[in-house]
């Protein structure tokens, strides 16, 4: 029986850092220096990327579809906002983790509802939870500020040194570092035996159960972890914008997130990150050209992406770059076929 060593070497091989990944992070850092006037929108992208990473953990690796991921984002956002507003925890980093933990608790509690049922049921249960929380936040407007949101949040400097500035420089580096750290963690998790067992569950829950994977416990664990990630991204949102209003729970936020992840591709961690970049850029691009009707063009892009097929689009888009690579690197340029999406 050589299956075991093969498997572990496969896991090790896929866990190794590839050059392209390093390039990715270097590019991300380079953006900070190349576009010093666009910190705010880049922070927005980083936050969205972290949020999408969170969804990728459950959708791409465990096959749980969710239309209510904003529930955890919102809880993280309000926790961070309330902590800053009432001076419970003033230091942003500690508050960030604390807010993430609040979301984690919620994730753990709701995971029992979510693991039941099939795709459509999960979709609606998660959506229902997010809507319920939105209604709660609206109902208890004396705590949450209702539709107007929390007003007057003032953030203390990070670690007592780095104050949030108007241009969003601190906020951007802060968010980027948080994203990177959490990305490393996620990378570690998905390449661990735990992560592999999740993939087994995604591909076939029955078979996974048959080979002894405790399916429900694994799903609860990853759902809880994803809630932590989403909570952190929500808390980052509040800390970097000093805002928290009801729309953090909104259906549109969850739905946009789904689009982001599907555009980028699921199940390889970078999908959410790249999807966030592409989606925000498209939005920025179209809404600059036509502030009133940009939604039409975004819609058109989505429709075209699906009709043409993502793999083909990538081939076309990369025709020129590949040509260049072939010329200079002298080796075969690769555009791989996308992994199958969980559906």
């Amino acid at each position: 029986m050589t299956a075991l060593p093969d498997l572990s070497s496969h896991a090790l091989a896929s866990a190794r850092w590839r050059p392209a990944e390093i390039v990715f992070w270097v590019l991300a850092l380079a953006c900070a220096f190349l576009f010093p006037s666009r910190y705010l929108i880049m922070t927005d992208i980083v936050r969205l990327a972290l949020f999408a990473l969170s969804l990728d953990l459950i959708l791409g690796y465990a096959g749980i579809v969710s239309l209510g991921h904003a529930a955890f984002f919102g809880v993280g956002a309000y926790s961070a906002g309330l902590m800053a507003l009432h001076g419970v925890i003033n230091e942003p980093v500690i508050a960030l983790v604390a807010a993430g933990l609040v979301a984690t608790v919620l994730g753990f509690l709701t995971s029992f509802l979510v693991i039941r049922g099939v795709d459509l049921t999960r979709l609606m249960v998660t959506l229902g939870i997010a809507l319920l929380l939105e209604a709660l936040a609206e109902r208890y407007s004396d705590i949450t500020g209702g539709t107007d949101g929390l007003q007057g949040i003032e953030m203390q400097p990070i670690l007592g040194h780095f104050a949030f500035d108007m241009f969003g420089k601190t906020g951007f580096f802060y968010s980027l570092i948080v994203l990177f750290v959490l990305f490393l963690l996620a990378r570690r998790v998905v390449h661990s035996p735990f992560g592999l067992s999740l993939r087994a569950i995604r591909n076939n829950p029955l078979r996974a159960a048959a080979i002894g994977v405790p399916v429900n416990r694994r799903l609860i664990a990853v759902y809880t972890l994803a809630a932590f990630y989403a909570g952190i991204s929500g808390a980052l949102f509040t800390q970097t914008t000093a805002l928290a209003s009801l729309d953090v729970f909104s259906f549109e936020r969850s739905a946009d997130l789904m689009l982001v992840l599907v555009i980028g591709g699921t199940g390889y961690l970078y999908g959410g990150l790249i999807g966030a970049v592409v989606f925000k850029m498209l939005q920025e691009f179209f809404s600059t050209i036509t502030p009133q009707y940009w939604q039409f063009w975004i819609g058109l892009v989505l429709v075209v992406i699906v009709l043409v097929g993502r793999a083909r689009i990538h081939r076309w888009a990369l025709w020129l770059p590949n040509l260049v690579i072939r010329q200079f690197a002298g080796r075969k340029a690769v555009v791989a076929i996308p992994e199958s999406d969980a559906s």
């Binding site: 590839r18 392209a20 990944e21 390039v23 990715f24 590019l27 953006c31 190349l34 576009f35 006037s37 666009r38 705010l40 929108i41 880049m42 927005d44 609206e138 407007s141 209702g146 539709t147 107007d148 949101g149 007003q151 108007m166 241009f167 969003g168 949102f237 914008t241 000093a242 805002l243 209003s245 729309d247 980028g264 591709g265 390889y268 970078y270 999908g271 790249i274 970049v277 592409v278 850029m281 498209l282 920025e284 691009f285 809404s287 600059t288 502030p291 009133q292 940009w294 939604q295 993502r310 793999a311 990538h314 888009a317 990369l318 770059p321 690769v334 555009v335 791989a336 076929i337 996308p338």
Partner: protein, 390 residues
Amino acid sequence: MSIRSQILLAASAVAAVLAVAPAQAEDAVKIGLILPMTGGQASTGKQIDNAIKLYMQQHGDTVAGKKIEIILKDDGALPDKTKTAAQELIVNDKVNFIAGFGVTPAALAAAPLATQGKIPEVVMAAGTSIITERSPYIVRTSFTLAQSSTIIGDWAAKNGIKKVATLTSDYAPGNDALTFFKQNFTAGGGEIVEEVKVPLANPDFAPFLQRMKDAKPDAVFVFVPAGQGGNFMKQYAERGLDKAGIKVIGPGDVMDDDLLNGMGDAALGTVTAHLYSAAHPSAMNKEFVAAYKKAFNSRPGFMAVSGYDGIHLIYEALKKTGGKTDGDELIAAMKGMKWESPRGPISIDPETRDIVQNIYIRKVEKVDGELYNVEFATFEAVKDSGKTKK
């Protein structure tokens, strides 16, 4: 999906979009206009945008030797988008004014940026009292809900209305409207018999209206955001509240000129207090309404007038400073400015930087086959009592 291909794709997108540096014109004054152009508040944004276009057509795009350039951004009425847009406008486009702001949270989100950047923030829609207190650079040309709500409260108490049920949208402007109405109405001897706050995003008023009907008041005091008024009136009539002798009163948002005609005869007889009616009998307004109708094929509402006055204020301030764009000088120039607007005489309170205007009591009547808010009483130079009381 290979990571490298994705990265290349993403990188080219980033470079393409981020690197588009805004063109810098030297002798231009730039106005960053942030409005909800999409989403549920889009009609507010469109009216203001239209009015500004109209004003610039009429008055030219040069003031004091400088060319006026408008940069429009959509925030979908979401405060975080407002903030990002405002920051981008200030830092990258180097705008001299930020203006617009469809909802209160949006106006508040931009306030710290106005203060830090010393950039005048001209609020053209949002109507909560506190806004102008959040930054010394905020000026408002729309209205506050306290202005119209206190007036209608007084009017109702003096005109034989004893019992009122209230229906207000549950957010800051709604709560402002309710508080100030209640304060003046009960001080005048009236009684509130039922108080219902409806969620902001609310598809069907039927159950709430049934509550109103069962409370048997003399009148219903209503505040719902511009746009929902039509639904309210339709269902008010459907439920037979008009037949039951229950009147509708409120700040004029419900009877927005923009939508009034679509409401049908159910709206007849509704009494509201507001800053503007398309039927305002002045030569200037007639001309404004005609020009607006000609250009955009719809009737201007109070949001359009607020936008029209907002851009006028910016023009006049620039004339006063001789084209200089220092934030403090501009704000100083704006303070105390008085002018004749399509809505009547208005001015900017030098102390609060809020608008001082006439509030008219109007009744919906049919004029030439169309519904209009016909003004029949005027309260002159009303300040924002949300602040004067303090």
